[in-house]
Symmetry: C2
Subunit: 377 residues, 2 copies
């Protein structure tokens, strides 16, 4: 069967035909190309389980990479792209097979990010705490990921923007849709101020209840940990926390008055069999989500960041000038590491907080490599 | 050397000459009688370490068992007395060598008790929560132990009284002293309404800062667990919690707003290396401090209370009439267990919540023995 279109366009088409997180389709995509999977759907190949369901949407007009939604920098990412956040692959068969993205580069921000989620019907207390935490995290170079909803989500996005940091809104609908309507200006502000909108759902898609749940797994999987600020007894935020736990990422909660129904979900998480960790400020959040993550040797609980670096990362770091910025090309030559690998190492060093990216290039963060740290659990 | 007085009076005298918790004196009392230790002090026996310090107070007029402080039921307990709370002996060399007590029987109430402690400068939130928790614990048959201070302590005592339950004020001064002055009526009310005042300090003793710390170990050691409701960064309540932890008793905290300085101490305890458990209501407190304590077989985490009873306790329990009250003498005959042992077993059954004591005698708590429980950690 010949492929009628390219792989990226085939995946875009699949995002229309199937709901994201469909594990049967995920398995099919792991075994063959998207072009092949799409052809099997078009040919009504009954050896593809669930094919009749995918065919129900064949009448939808295919989305193009250059349609109106892509204006202003909208793009469709697939695994293998340089901008693809590989931590999403930890979702296994439920991993997304593509992401519609608009705004700033996704991978770098997400590599050093925390999810801040919680109730729509948040209290003034919760809104205040979410906003303050997000600002403080942004100031310390952490991106804040949330869901773009009213309440805690919006306070987290706005707080991160106020701190001059990156914020990522992972949406349960198309990146060209404003939901709630009242958040059209928030989404525009996120795009304009260095943030990113991301969605698995095709442009034009409207939200449904299952889509919010599907979206939650993206929030949990993109980030180093999920912080719940306020959540009622039943709350979507608890679902995001459950996914984070399944992925082995830290689940954190902000405590609140025991008399507040909006803190019941947080307290329940903190009392569970695998208790969520209680946090009261941004430095505690950073302590919990780990500073050096994948760079740390887990067997040695206390060591300098420098000692935890692999030899190539150490070579790139030590080839950096003390105070001025350097380009990837400069550093590749200085370290004697090929340019592609140098770029990858720099990405990890930025994620680890050892290097900052400025408009002039990459700059070493003074003293960061000599910090004594606890390895991430 | 001849003993000039009886053992109880010798210990009363020692309580004047040394500060409670004095481990050298504790060791001397473990090795010989109080009469002998007192004689060594009076004879300036330099083989008793610290004798010169104890002699500094020899000029104080000795307290008598029948002085004014004992009016209205005041008494001096020593280890071995039927009313002595043997859990205090877990303090080892720092265990009290005697207790001045006034009000209701101490041992029975303390056997099924929780400490509720916290800030003097509590917020309305903290006062409300402390009072509510104490009332709910009292209603469920748990005694509330606290320190008689302003703030959380007073709210806890008053809440327990409002719930018709026992409350024990462990004081850092004589049981005939009202400190703060404004609590004279609270102490009178505790005595009048089935509560107990207890102190290691001789009648007439006034509080000092070290005495509050010494008193804290009594609060921690008397109870099944210590609950901190509100505590600032530095707070005496954290000292009580530290003693409870050293004794292996659960340390519990009530969460609060992260914006409240009065919850900082609670949140710090919940984030420690051995995190305190967060609780939000009385049933969670009871879940944490354990229902059957010393009766439970620790190796089997889930079983019926009945299965955890030793054969003698089971025989006494099963000899009880289904609905009416029975006296110790009746039950001794019915169970074929001698009266002294029957009394001891009943004390443990009451402490375990399987039996209630009413004015007509002991009554079985319906269904309690068939509850499935988790053994106390």
């Amino acid at each position: 069967m010949g492929c009628v279109t390219d792989e990226r366009e085939a995946r875009m088409r699949l995002s229309q035909l199937a709901e994201p997180g469909d594990e049967r389709l995920g398995a099919a995509l792991a075994a063959s190309s998207a072009c092949e999977v799409l052809a099997r759907i078009e040919q009504d190949d009954h050896t593809l389980t669930g094919v009749q369901h995918y065919r129900a949407r064949l009448g939808l007009a295919p989305i193009g990479q250059h349609d109106a939604w892509a204006d202003g920098g909208g793009r469709y990412l697939v695994p293998g792209d340089g901008e693809w956040p590989t931590q999403l692959d930890h979702l296994g068969a439920a991993a997304p097979w593509g992401l519609f993205v608009v705004g700033a580069e996704l991978r770098l921000a997400a590599a050093r990010s925390v999810a801040i989620v919680g109730a729509r019907a948040a209290t003034q207390y919760g809104l205040h705490v979410a906003s303050d935490l997000a600002t403080d995290l942004a100031v310390r170079g952490w991106a804040v990921v949330s869901g773009g909803a009213y309440g805690i989500d919006a306070a987290a996005h706005r707080g991160a923007l106020a701190g001059g940091g990156a914020t990522i809104a992972a949406l349960a609908f198309g990146i060209d849709v404003a939901y709630p309507r009242g958040h059209a200006s928030l989404f525009a502000r996120i795009r304009a101020e260095g943030g990113t909108l991301v969605s698995e759902f095709a442009p034009g898609c409207t939200p449904t209840k299952p889509r919010f749940l599907l979206r939650n797994r993206i929030i949990a999987a993109l980030t180093r940990g999920t912080l719940v600020v306020e959540a009622a007894h039943r709350s979507g935020a608890l679902n995001t926390a459950a996914v984070a736990r399944r992925l082995g990422r830290p689940v954190l909660v902000v405590p609140g008055p025991v008399t507040s129904s909006m803190s019941v979900g947080c307290h329940r998480l903190a009392r569970g069999d695998e208790p969520a960790r209680l946090v009261t400020d941004a430095s505690e959040v950073i302590e919990e989500v780990g500073m050096i993550g994948e760079l740390a040797d887990r067997s040695d609980p206390l060591r300098r960041v420098r000692d935890a670096l692999d030899p190539m990362a150490l070579r790139v770091l030590e080839s950096m000038p003390a105070e001025s910025a350097a380009s990837v090309a400069d550093l590749s030559v200085a370290a004697g590491v090929d340019a592609g690998a140098t770029g990858g190492v720099l990405l990890r060093l930025v994620a680890a907080g050892l290097v900052r990216e400025s408009s002039a290039g990459f700059v070493r963060v003074p003293g960061a490599a000599d910090t004594v740290v606890r390895a991430q659990r």
